[in-house]
C-alpha cells in the first residue's frame, strides 16, 4: 500500500522582487511499512524545502504552494492548519531536522524533552510519560539513565539518538530525516545508520532520507530521487539509479566521488548549480551537460518512465528519438565502477 503520494508539487518563495523556484514539479511516492526513499542533492536543489512542505512548515514569503500530497489516500494540502497540526504533524509524519541535536533545550532533562509533546497535548500523566521516555530511549539504544541528564552531558551521537527518539514519540508512520548525520564523525554516523535500519525494519517506519551524500543514501534507501534545481532529475530503485543512471547529472555525480578501493580518479563536473530565481530554460542541467543537444536548450524534458517505476528527466531517454541515445551516451561501460 502506498503511504504517501506526492504529485506535481510546487513551492516558490518571494525574495524581493524575484521568485525562488525551490520545488518545481516534484512527484514521488513512498510505500507503507518500512520503505526508505532518498532525496539526494546539492545545496540549493530544493530538498529541504520539499521536506518542509511535507510537514507544512512554510515561511511567510511563500509565493506558490500547490500540487497534491496524499497520506493513505487523504489529501493533505486542503486540510486546515489546525487539523494538520492535530492529526498529521508528529502524529503521522515526523521529522528530524538538520542540526536538531544542537538545539536541544539545555535546561530541560532529556526524558522530559522526549515526551514533552505528549504531556503538552494533555494525553499523558507525568508517570506515563516517564515510562514512555524510558521505552523510547531504550529503543534508540540509550541507557534509561540518560533521561535524567541534560543535553550538555551527552556526546554528539547520544544527542542525535535523543532527537530521533523525540521524533518517534507519537508513533509516526513516516519519518523525514534531513541530513541526520552531517554533524557526526564517520564512526558515529555508522552507528546512527544501523539504528535507522533497525527502525525501518521494526516497527517498520517508512522514511524520506535527505542528504547531499549519495553513498550515505545508499546505506538505507530502497529508492533514490536525485534532486537538481528544484526537480527530480531521476528517480528509481537504488540498484538502477546507482548502477545504470539514466540522467547525465546522476552519472557525473557518481563519477565525481572519490572511491576507496578504485584506482580510477574522480572526474570533475563542469559548471555550477543554477540560481533558482532564474533557472535555465529547457533542461535545467543543459548548461553543464556534456551530452547537450539543440532540443535541451528550449524544450523542458518530461519525466520519461523507467521500467522500475521511476523516471528520468532527460531527452536521451525519449523512446521516439532516432537511435538509442541512452545506449550511445549513458550506458555504463562494461565492468563499470561498481563492485
Amino acid at each position: 500500500m502506498t503511504l504517501l503520494e506526492v504529485r506535481d508539487l510546487h513551492l516558490h518563495y518571494k525574495a524581493g522582487d524575484r521568485v525562488v523556484h525551490a520545488v518545481d514539479g516534484v512527484s514521488f511516492s513512498i510505500e507503507e511499512r518500512g520503505e526508505a526513499v532518498g532525496i539526494v542533492g546539492e545545496s540549493g536543489s530544493g530538498k529541504t524545502s520539499m521536506a518542509n512542505a511535507m510537514m507544512r512548515l512554510l515561511p511567510k514569503n511563500v509565493a506558490r504552494f500547490d500540487g497534491s500530497i496524499q497520506l493513505n489516500g487523504r489529501e493533505l494540502t486542503t486540510l486546515g492548519n489546525d487539523e494538520f497540526r492535530r492529526e498529521i504533524r508528529w502524529r503521522r509524519i515526523a521529522m528530524v531536522f538538520q542540526g536538531a541535536m544542537n538545539v536541544l533545550n539545555p535546561v530541560l532533562r532529556i526524558g522530559m524533552q522526549v515526551t514533552e509533546p505528549l504531556v503538552a497535548a494533555g494525553e499523558m500523566s507525568k508517570s506515563e510519560a516517564n515510562k514512555r521516555a524510558d521505552y523510547l530511549l531504550e529503543r534508540v539504544g540509550l541507557p534509561k539513565e540518560i533521561g535524567s541528564r541534560y543535553a550538555h552531558e551527552l556526546s554528539g551521537g547520544q544527542k542525535q539518538r535523543v532527537v530521533i527518539a523525540t521524533a518517534l514519540v507519537m508513533n509516526p508512520d513516516l519519518l523525514i530525516l534531513d541530513e541526520p548525520t552531517s554533524a557526526l564523525d564517520v564512526s558515529v554516523q555508522a552507528q546512527i545508520m544501523n539504528l535507522l535500519k533497525d527502525l525501518k525494519e521494526d516497527p517498520g517506519i517508512s522514511m524520506i532520507f535527505i542528504t547531499h551524500d549519495i553513498g550515505l543514501a545508499s546505506d538505507i534507501c530502497d529508492r533514490l530521487a536525485v534532486a537538481y534545481a528544484g526537480q527530480h532529475a531521476e528517480l528509481g530503485s537504488a540498484e538502477r539509479v546507482l548502477l545504470e543512471p539514466h540522467h547525465p547529472y546522476t552519472k557525473l555525480l557518481l563519477r565525481s566521488l572519490p572511491r576507496l578501493h578504485d584506482s580510477e580518479p574522480p572526474q570533475s563536473m563542469p559548471g555550477q548549480p543554477p540560481d533558482l530565481t532564474s533557472p535555465p530554460p529547457g533542461c535545467r542541467f543543459h548548461p553543464r551537460c556534456p551530452y547537450v543537444f539543440e532540443r535541451c536548450l528550449t524544450e523542458v524534458p518530461p519525466e520519461y518512465a523507467m521500467p522500475d517505476g521511476g523516471h528520468a528527466r532527460c531527452f536521451l531517454n525519449d523512446p521516439k528519438a532516432s537511435g538509442d541515445l541512452f545506449e550511445m551516451h549513458l550506458k555504463p561501460q562494461l565492468a563499470g565502477r561498481h563492485g
Binding site: M193, L216, L257
Partner: protein, 362 residues
C-alpha cells in the same frame, strides 16, 4: 594531572629519506589549558609525541575525526601554536621558539588555506584587494608589480579573465570560486609549504574535484610541500602521497596512501574505512560493522593505547597499560598497535575483511 611525554627513540620513526624534509615535527606535544569554571582548570592533550615529515613536492594527508588533533598538528607546523614539548623544524631550522618578529619571514614561505570560504574572506573587499593584501603586509611598495602578481595568481587558480574576477566581491561568487580566492591568497606569496585544512568540505560535491585538482596541479607545478587535513580518507587517497591517521592526538598509522586504504593495519583505521558508505545498492541489506563509543576524550592523559576502550582487538593487561609505539610493519608503512609487536601472524579483525565487513541480513 600528570603530563606525560613519550619519547620516540631516534630512528624508530625514520623513513629512508634521500633528502632532508622541508617540514618536520619531532616528538611534538601540544597541551591546551582550559578553564572549567572559576577555580577548576583542565588540560586538553591535543597532540601527544607526534613525529611528522613533509618533503618538497610531497602531499601528506592528516586523516582523523574531530578532536583527533589533525588541525592542531597542521597549526603546529606553521607555528600558529607553540609546542608544549618537542620541536618544529622548517628547512633545517628549529622554529619552535622563534619570536613573532622572526616568524613573519617564515610565514611568507608557509601558508594556510582555510576550510570555510564563506567566512574567511572579508565581504567588503574585492577579490583583487583580498589577494593583494598579503603583498601589502609583506611591504611590497611597487603597486604595478603587486597588481601584476595578483593577475598572475588569479590566472593560476583559473579565475579567468583575471581583471573581471579581480573586481568582484566574494558574495558574487560560488563556493568553489571563493575557495579559489582563498587558494590565491595563499599562493600569491609563492610559498614552499601550504597547509589546507578541509579545503573542500564546505563546497558542493560537484565542485570539489575541480578545487582538489587545482590544488594538485599547483602543488606539482611548483613542487610545494602540502599538508592536506581532512576527515575524508577516500579523498586523501587521490590527493596525497602519504596518509597519517590520527586518533586522540596520536598518529596511529602512517604510510603510502593506497597501502593505508587497501591494507589498513590499525584497528582504528580499519574501523574508519569500514564506516564509510560508498554508493552501492547492497549497502542497505546489511548492518555496518561499527566500533562502540565515540572518538577519544583528549582531556585525559592516557597511559595505554588511545583506542583501547573502543578496540575490538584489544588485549587487556597489555594495551591499557603500555602505549604502542609507531613502528614499521612493512617498508613505508608504520603502525602503533600491539597486534604487530612480535611479527607473528595477526588474528583476523572483524573490521578488516572487506567482504565480511557487514553482517548480511538476508
Amino acid at each position: 594531572m600528570a603530563e606525560e611525554v613519550i619519547a620516540d627513540p631516534a630512528g624508530v620513526n625514520q623513513q629512508d629519506d634521500q633528502t632532508a624534509p622541508l617540514v618536520e615535527v619531532r616528538d611534538g606535544e601540544v597541551v591546551f589549558q582550559t578553564r572549567k569554571g572559576i577555580f577548576r582548570s583542565g588540560a586538553v592533550h591535543a597532540l601527544n609525541g607526534v613525529d611528522l615529515k613533509i618533503h618538497r613536492g610531497e602531499t601528506v594527508a592528516l586523516v582523523g575525526e574531530s578532536g583527533s588533533g589533525k588541525t592542531t598538528l597542521g597549526r603546529l607546523t606553521l607555528r600558529l601554536v607553540k609546542p608544549t614539548a618537542g620541536s618544529v623544524w622548517y628547512d633545517g631550522r628549529d622554529i619552535s621558539e622563534l619570536p613573532e618578529s622572526e616568524l613573519r619571514e617564515f610565514r611568507q614561505h608557509a601558508q594556510i588555506v582555510f576550510q570555510d570560504p564563506f567566512s574567511s574572506l572579508n565581504p567588503y573587499m574585492t577579490v583583487g584587494e583580498l589577494i593583494e593584501e598579503p603583498l601589502i603586509i609583506d611591504g611590497i611598495k611597487d603597486s604595478t608589480g603587486r597588481r601584476k602578481r595578483v593577475d598572475e595568481t588569479l590566472e593560476a587558480v583559473d579565475l579567468i579573465p583575471a581583471d573581471r574576477f579581480a573586481s568582484k566581491y566574494p558574495g558574487q561568487m560560488s563556493g568553489g570560486q571563493r575557495q579559489r580566492v582563498g587558494i590565491a591568497r595563499a599562493l600569491v606569496r609563492n610559498p614552499d609549504y601550504i597547509v589546507t585544512d578541509e579545503p573542500v568540505s564546505m563546497i558542493d560535491a560537484s565542485s570539489r574535484i575541480e578545487v582538489l585538482n587545482l590544488l594538485d596541479t599547483l602543488q606539482r607545478q611548483r613542487r610545494m610541500a602540502f599538508l592536506f587535513i581532512t576527515h575524508d580518507i577516500a579523498t586523501a587517497r587521490y590527493f596525497a602521497d602519504r596518509i597519517a591517521v590520527m586518533y586522540a592526538g596520536f598518529i596511529v598509522e602512517e604510510g603510502i596512501a593506497g597501502r593505508i586504504i587497501d591494507n589498513p593495519l590499525h584497528p582504528y583505521t580499519q574501523a574508519l574505512i569500514a564506516a564509510i558508505p560508498e554508493p552501492d545498492p547492497r549497502n542497505r541489506l546489511k548492518r555496518r560493522a561499527v566500533v562502540p563509543g565515540e572518538p577519544g576524550d583528549t582531556a585525559k592523559a592516557l597511559v595505554g593505547c588511545p583506542f583501547f576502550s573502543r578496540c575490538p582487538m584489544r588485549t587487556p593487561g597489555l594495551c591499557d597499560v603500555d602505549r604502542p609505539r609507531l613502528i614499521a610493519r612493512e617498508p613505508g608503512h608504520f603502525v602503533a598497535c600491539h597486534l604487530y609487536d612480535t611479527g607473528s601472524p595477526v588474528p583476523a579483525s572483524p573490521l578488516a575483511d572487506r567482504d565480511s565487513q557487514s553482517r548480511l541480513l538476508l
